[in-house]
Symmetry: C2
Subunit: 148 residues, 2 copies
């Protein structure tokens, strides 16, 4: 397996993991910066969105939907719980289950964060234009879907 310059340049240009990680690092910083007044990181904001969308979801279900390891979600949730933004309640029938619900305080912070999110969103999307991003997002979803 060759290790010459050309090859390394090609790997850098084509490696899916590298290109996605790099982009997500840089993009996340823009959102995190914008959300700073709320004390939320974009990861946490995304979680709140999903709790509003699917109130009372089970953790495993959410993790699957978010494409996130169960244990990652578990730990990310604890941060929000500590801040009082979500409520974790044990399942009635199945006592193994934990159902996640956003609290009133969580909703308040979420509503405060939404315009800041929009600001970052417009800044980032504006860089390449809405249509190109829409197409890019579609392709990204295809890529993710093909991994299953």
């Amino acid at each position: 397996m060759p290790m010459d310059r050309e090859h390394c340049i090609a790997m850098g240009r084509t490696c899916v993991a590298y290109n996605l990680r790099r982009a997500s690092r840089l993009v996340s910083q823009v959102y995190d910066q914008a959300l700073k007044p709320t004390g939320l990181k974009v990861t946490q904001f995304s979680l709140l969105v999903s709790f509003v969308l699917a109130p009372g979801s089970k953790m495993a279900q959410l993790a699957q939907w978010l494409g996130m390891d169960r244990t990652t979600l578990s730990r990310n949730l604890r941060v929000l719980e500590k801040r009082g933004l979500v409520d974790l309640e044990q399942g009635q029938q199945d006592r193994r289950e934990l159902k996640v619900r956003i609290t009133p305080e969580g909703k308040k912070v979420f509503e405060q964060a939404t315009p800041l999110w929009l600001q970052a969103q417009e800044e980032v999307v504006g860089g390449i234009g809405q249509e190109r991003w829409a197409e890019l997002a579609k392709e990204l979803r295809s890529l993710v879907a093909s991994l299953k």
Copy 2:
């Protein structure tokens, strides 16, 4: 700022940070799995690539190039150094500088990892096809470039 279902669904579909983070999580797992026999994660592999490409680079320079915070690179490097895959040497003229160089052991592991990387790469790219990925990667680079 509205918080209804429609709006949340739209945020999930369009949020650049969320979509990139999700994709990079899932894709990274494929590469990490493939690289497991080498004990490298794809992040570390990417770093090795850059050291082969630009031997003796300064840390700040590398961080800029990789779109990574200086302190992140610093800590990621320590892991590779502990394993003896890279060598950190103090600059001659400017004693603040740290120059990074891959070791013979590092090269060995890198060469062992390269075919495993290719395996993951083909698996992931194969999901949508080479042309679509090439276009996607180009658009991703545009997006990243527009953030500067």
